[in-house]
């Protein structure tokens, strides 16, 4: 079985799906990512699907599940690079990518994750973030 590599870039895990994944490969990616989020303490996951020429219900569900798992593990997932034909097909298939945040490309995805972490008062890795977070919750 082929495996999709997960790269760590700063505080972000980047997954660039370059192959037509079998269902088993997709499930393994889901598990590998959960482990890497915990092992690295990363707060952002970017899944680049630029190379995917289809997203069916199985992969769509995998993307939703990854988004939910990462949320529980205190990380934001952003899916980037969805092709227009894929978006059109997903809507007609009836798949609502529940809870999935999307951005145009990897760069925009990184900006989105950074912006989300800045807005979140619960973000406590940045020493200044702790202060502003505390201030925001005190009367």
């Amino acid at each position: 079985m082929e495996r999709v590599p997960i790269l760590k870039i700063g505080d972000i895990l980047l997954v660039s799906i370059q192959i037509d994944m079998s269902d088993q490969t997709a499930v393994t990616l889901q598990e590998d990512l959960a482990e890497r989020i915990v092992a690295t303490g990363c707060h952002g996951v970017i899944i680049d699907i630029t190379a995917l020429d289809i997203v069916d219900s199985f992969v769509g569900r995998m993307l939703s599940t990854i988004a939910s798992i990462s949320k529980v593990l205190d990380a934001e997932t952003v899916v980037v690079g969805m092709r227009p034909a894929v978006a059109i097909t997903l809507v007609e298939l009836g798949l609502s990518l529940n809870g999935i945040r999307t951005a145009l490309n990897v760069e925009r995805g990184m900006e989105l994750i950074a912006a989300t972490r800045d807005d979140d008062p619960g973000y406590d890795d940045d020493p200044e973030g702790v202060e502003s977070g505390t201030a925001a919750t005190s009367p």
């Binding site: 269902d23 088993q24 020429d53 219900s57 092709r83 034909a85 059109i88 097909t89 007609e92 009836g94």
Partner: protein, 138 residues
Amino acid sequence: MTAGVDLGPKTQAIGSDEDVVRVRQLVRTVAVAAKLSLVDQTKLVTAASELARNTLIYGGGGTAEVTVVEDGRRRGVRIVFADSGPGIADLDLALTDGYTTGGGLGLGLSGSRRLVDDFDIQTAPGEGTRITVTKWSR
């Protein structure tokens, strides 16, 4: 006809999830050769992926046969998914968005019907399932 491109029927066995990947690849190749538009290729390959997975999971495996068809005015791609599994007892129910007996999203059958132009199912309890879909060029 385009010289050098074999447009005859091609069959792919479906016995593992790697075979589902092969069905997608075969359908994509044929859809490109038949000159379907990019969006139509994407819709057909997505529908094929859903139906091939159903053939594997619920039908216990089977085959996909992919053929280029012509109706005088248009060219299209037809795929027949066949298995000798348990069949579908209540077809209306199975074709309802969200209905699943396998913990899926229940979108495979109903969604792929929306993605193709012609959709036909022959099935009966104990007699397997045969689904024929066609996507026409426009």
